[in-house]
C-alpha cells in the first residue's frame, strides 16, 4: 500500500478529480493549503501597504492506494494538473505501514481496494 500525496493548483482540482475518477480512484481526501514552489511572487497593494505574497493557494490531495493502483493514480494526476508553468505542484508517493477501513475493520490491502473491485471478484 502507498499513500499518494499531491499538491496541485486549486483551479486544476476539478480536472484532477475528473481524471482520478476516470481511473476508478474513488477514495481521497483534500485540503486547501498554502505553499511555495518557486513561483514568482505576486505583488498586492492595500492602500499604502504593498506586500509580496510568498505563499500561493494550493490543494493537497491524499490518496491511499494498493500497489498496482500507484501507477495509474500518479499518471492521472500528472496528466490533469499540468499547465507547464512554475507552480504546478508535486506528487509524493510514500510507503504506508497499516491501513484500516473504519466501517468494516478490514486491514491493509483490503482496506484500500475499492468496493467495486471487491464486488467484481
Amino acid at each position: 500500500m502507498k499513500l499518494v500525496v499531491a499538491v496541485v493548483r486549486p483551479e486544476k482540482l476539478n480536472d484532477v478529480l475528473e481524471s482520478l475518477f476516470r481511473e476508478e480512484v474513488r477514495g481521497l481526501t483534500i485540503q486547501r493549503v498554502q505553499g511555495h514552489g518557486g513561483e514568482t511572487e505576486r505583488v498586492e497593494t492595500y492602500r499604502g501597504t504593498t506586500v509580496k505574497m510568498g505563499l500561493s493557494e494550493k490543494v493537497r490531495i491524499e490518496i491511499g492506494v494498493s500497489d498496482h493502483f500507484v501507477g495509474p493514480t500518479v499518471a492521472a494526476i500528472l496528466r490533469a494538473a499540468r499547465t507547464g508553468e512554475v507552480g504546478d505542484g508535486k506528487v509524493f508517493v510514500m510507503p504506508v505501514e497499516k491501513v484500516f477501513r473504519i466501517r468494516t475493520g478490514e486491514e491493509d490491502q483490503a482496506a484500500v481496494t475499492p468496493e467495486s473491485e471487491i464486488a467484481a471478484r
Binding site: R9, E11, K12, N14, Q34, H36, E41, R42, V43, E44, T45, Y46, T49, T50, V51, K52, M53, G54, L55, T83, E85
Partner: protein
C-alpha cells in the same frame, strides 16, 4: 420651485446612487471568491467613469434640445446647468438624479461578462456605452425624442434602463465568449448572503428609482412607491411557489433573483398602474424570467449572472404589461389594452424592439472597435488564477500568511523641508 419636491428628489438621488454598490454586492456574491472584488469593482468603477462621462457630455446628449434622435451639446461640460428650475426642482438636482440612472444602467451590463473581461477595456466599454447608447435611449424616451412622441410609456426606465442594459449584456456575453470553465464544471456563488444583501439594498434604492421618477413629492410618487413595494412582493411569492413545485425547496439565490425581477418588471409601470395591477404584474413577471434562467443555463451563451433573463425578459414583460394595465384613472395620461386602448401595447412593443436592436447593434460596434485595439479578455491563465489578483492585485479574502511587507525604497516626500525621516529597521539609507 417646490421645496417638498426638492427634498424628495435629494433623497431619491441618494437612494438610486446606493443601487450601484448594492448591485456590486448582488453580483459579487454570485461569482467565485477569486473574482469577487473584480465583479464588485465593475459596479464601483461605473460610479466614477460613467459619472464623469455624464457630466462632461452624456447629460447634454440626453436632455439638451428638442431633437428627435439626439440631444445637442448645449449642456456639455454642464454649461447652463445651474440653480434655475427644471420642472419644480433645481436643474443641478435633475442632472444629478439622471446621472445616477446612467451609472446603474451601465453597471448592470457587467453581470454578463464577469470572471473574464479585462478591467481596462471594461472601463472603456462602459464609458463609451453610457455616452453613445444610454444617452440617446434616455433622450428618446425622457428627453422628448421619437419614442416619447410615439407615446411610449416608461415611468422609471424599464426600456431605457433594463431592456437597454440587457440587450447590451446579451451581445457582450456572446462576443466575449464563455468563461473557460463554463458548462465544464460547476461555477457556484461564493457568498449567497452578499447576494441577498445586495437584493435588499437594491429594493431600498429602487424606491428612489421608481417613486423618484415622478420628479416630485406628489400622489404619482406615492403610487409608484406602493407599486415598487407590492409588485416584487408578488414576484417573490410566485417564484417561491414555482421553486416549491419544481424542486421542493425555496432557494435563496432564487429569492434574491425574484426580488430583482419584480423590481425590474414594475419599473416601467410604477406610476401608471393601480397597486392591484402591480401585484398581478409582479406575479405574472415571475414566470418568463424563471424559465428564461433555466433555458439560458442549457445554452452556450455565458450571460454569467443572467442579465438577459432578469433585466431583459423582466423589463420587456414589464413594458408590455404596462401597455396592458395602465389606467388613466391612476396616471392621468394613458390607458392600456385592458382599459380600451390596444394601441398602447403596440407602442410598448415597438419601444422594446427599438431598444433591443439599437442597444445590441451599438454594443456590437463598440466592442468590435475596442477589440481591434486591445484584448478584451483575460488569458486562460489569468482566468484560472482569478481576476482579483491578476486585474487588481488584491484578494477579497486574504489571510496575510506568507505576505512579505515591501518597504518603500525611498522615503516619502518630506513633510518639513530639512528634516530627514529615519525609518527604523529598513536597513539604513537605500
Amino acid at each position: 420651485m417646490n421645496q417638498a419636491d426638492i427634498a424628495w428628489m435629494l433623497v431619491s438621488t441618494a437612494l438610486v446612487l446606493l443601487m450601484t454598490p448594492a448591485l456590486g454586492f448582488f453580483y459579487g456574491g454570485l461569482v467565485r471568491s477569486k473574482n469577487a472584488l473584480n465583479t464588485m469593482m465593475m459596479s464601483v468603477a461605473a460610479l466614477g467613469f460613467v459619472g464623469i462621462g455624464w457630466a462632461v457630455l452624456g447629460y447634454s446628449l440626453a436632455f439638451s434640445g428638442e431633437g428627435l434622435w439626439l440631444g445637442n451639446l448645449g449642456h456639455a461640460l454642464l454649461r447652463g446647468v445651474g440653480l434655475e428650475a427644471k420642472g419644480t426642482i433645481p436643474h443641478v438636482l435633475f442632472f444629478s438624479y439622471q446621472g445616477t440612472f446612467a451609472i446603474i444602467t451601465a453597471a448592470l451590463i457587467s453581470g454578463a461578462i464577469v470572471e473574464r473581461m479585462r478591467f481596462g477595456p471594461y472601463l472603456a466599454f462602459i464609458s463609451l456605452w453610457a455616452l453613445f447608447v444610454y444617452a440617446p435611449m434616455a433622450h428618446w424616451v425622457w428627453g422628448g425624442g421619437f419614442l416619447a412622441r410615439m407615446g411610449a410609456l416608461d415611468f422609471a426606465g424599464g426600456t431605457v434602463v433594463h431592456v437597454n442594459a440587457a440587450a447590451a449584456a446579451g451581445v457582450a456575453a456572446w462576443m466575449l465568449r464563455p468563461r473557460k470553465d463554463h458548462a465544464r464544471q460547476a461555477i457556484l456563488p461564493h457568498n449567497v448572503p452578499f447576494t441577498l444583501l445586495g437584493a435588499g439594498l437594491l429594493w431600498f434604492g429602487w424606491f428612489g428609482f421608481n417613486a423618484g421618477s415622478a420628479l416630485a413629492a406628489n400622489p404619482s410618487a406615492a403610487l409608484a412607491f406602493a407599486n415598487t413595494l407590492f409588485a416584487p412582493v408578488a414576484t417573490l411569492v410566485v417564484w417561491t411557489l414555482i421553486d416549491f413545485a419544481r424542486g421542493g425547496k425555496a432557494t435563496a439565490v432564487g429569492a434574491a433573483t425574484a426580488i430583482v425581477v419584480g423590481l425590474v418588471a414594475v419599473t416601467p409601470a410604477a406610476g401608471l398602474v393601480s397597486p392591484l395591477a402591480a401585484i398581478v404584474l409582479g406575479a405574472v413577471a415571475a414566470f418568463p424570467s424563471y424559465f428564461a434562467l433555466l433555458y439560458r443555463a442549457r445554452t452556450r451563451l455565458d450571460d454569467s449572472l443572467d442579465v438577459v433573463a432578469a433585466h431583459g425578459v423582466g423589463g420587456a414583460v414589464g413594458a408590455l404589461l404596462t401597455g396592458v394595465l395602465a389606467q388613466k384613472a391612476w396616471n392621468g395620461t394613458a390607458d392600456g389594452l385592458l382599459f380600451g386602448n390596444p394601441r398602447q401595447l403596440a407602442v410598448q412593443a415597438a419601444a422594446v424592439a427599438v431598444a433591443i436592436v439599437f442597444s445590441g447593434g451599438m454594443t456590437f460596434a463598440i466592442l468590435k472597435v475596442l477589440g481591434a485595439f486591445v484584448a478584451l479578455r483575460a488569458t486562460r491563465g489569468e482566468e484560472g488564477l482569478g481576476l482579483d489578483v491578476t486585474q487588481h492585485g488584491v484578494e477579497a479574502y486574504s489571510h496575510g500568511e506568507g505576505a512579505i511587507l515591501v518597504l518603500p525604497d525611498t522615503p516619502p516626500a518630506r513633510a518639513f523641508p530639512g528634516v530627514a525621516f529615519d525609518f527604523e529597521g529598513t536597513g539604513g539609507a537605500s
